[in-house]
């Protein structure tokens, strides 16, 4: 019962934050409302007993990625007058809704086809240890590919920044 109320509260916050992200004009307002979304998502993961995912959501998404974005907003020092006048905002918004609508329909279909009864959680579900064991035995190849992906991202960032002259 408690879990249901928490779910609705967090889901509402997540949706409001996401709306704020697309509707606010100033990038700082958008970023801060996105933080709300990310933290509510972490709360939803916690409700599903996915403890490691909860922590990773907070550390990587709400922590690292958002501080990267805030950092950029800060050092670019974007002020109200720097922002482009986008008169087509509502047009883009409508276009976005049309593109996303089929996906949303699919999601609703999936949610409706979910079984009614709650499956029993296996022992240690979502624990750091259990996930670690699975990740490093069954999902080994994706893990190593991720490391190469990160390396590529790192080199790419340096090269792109270097074009404008790092020094």
């Amino acid at each position: 019962m408690l879990a249901t109320y928490l779910f609705f509260g967090l889901a509402l916050l997540a949706v409001l934050g996401a709306l704020g992200l697309i509707l606010f004009k100033h990038p700082m307002n958008g970023a801060m409302s996105f933080v709300v979304t990310l933290i509510s998502l972490a709360g939803l993961y916690a409700l599903l007993s996915a403890k490691l995912i909860f922590a990773i959501q907070l550390i990587v998404y709400a922590g690292a990625i958002m501080s990267l974005i805030l950092f950029i907003i800060m050092f670019l020092n974007i002020q109200e007058r720097d922002l482009p006048i986008d008169s087509n905002r509502w047009f883009y918004l409508a276009g976005g809704i049309i593109v996303v609508a089929p996906i949303a329909g699919l999601m609703i279909k999936i949610a409706k086809s979910l079984p009614e009864e709650h499956p029993e959680l296996i022992d240690g579900f979502g624990d750091v240890k259990t996930v670690g064991h699975l990740l490093f035995t069954e999902w080994l190849l994706p893990f190593e590919i991720v490391s190469i992906l990160l390396l590529v991202a790192l080199v790419g960032a340096v090269v792109l920044a270097g074009k404008r002259g790092v020094n």
């Binding site: 409700l47 990160l150 390396l151």
Partner: protein
């Protein structure tokens, strides 16, 4: 999610949010006065403000933030590994050595490129 966890979490977060409201105390007790100098950016006593605070900064800060993001993701991958290292054994160790070597290659590349030379 046990009721114990929810209750203590809610009370603790509530307290943490409530304590900063002592800020309101100054609004009640503090004096109020206007003044042109008080409404200008603080410049160590110079009332004629020189320049504004809206210049752009070096791209290096941006690179630093990207590096932080990438290494943070790598560190996050290491926590589950560290916790289950005893069960994973030698094989798990070798996996992480490969991972760390790739990481180290990236780090050496950055250092050789002089990204972190602040001059």
């Amino acid at each position: 999610m046990s009721a114990e966890l929810v209750l203590s979490g809610a009370v603790f977060i509530g307290l943490a949010l409530a304590i900063p409201t002592i800020m309101v105390l100054t609004a009640v007790f503090g004096p109020r006065s206007g003044g042109e100098a008080k409404n200008a950016p603080y410049e160590s006593g110079i009332t004629q403000v020189v320049g504004m605070a809206d210049q752009k900064f070096s791209v290096k800060f941006y690179l630093l933030a990207i590096l932080f993001l990438i290494f943070d993701i790598e560190a996050v991958f290491m926590y589950p590994w560290a916790v289950s290292l005893r069960e994973l054994g030698v094989f798990g160790f070798i996996e992480m050595v490969v991972f760390i070597l790739l990481l180290l290659t990236g780090l050496i590349y950055i250092l050789k490129k002089g990204v972190l030379n602040w001059r």
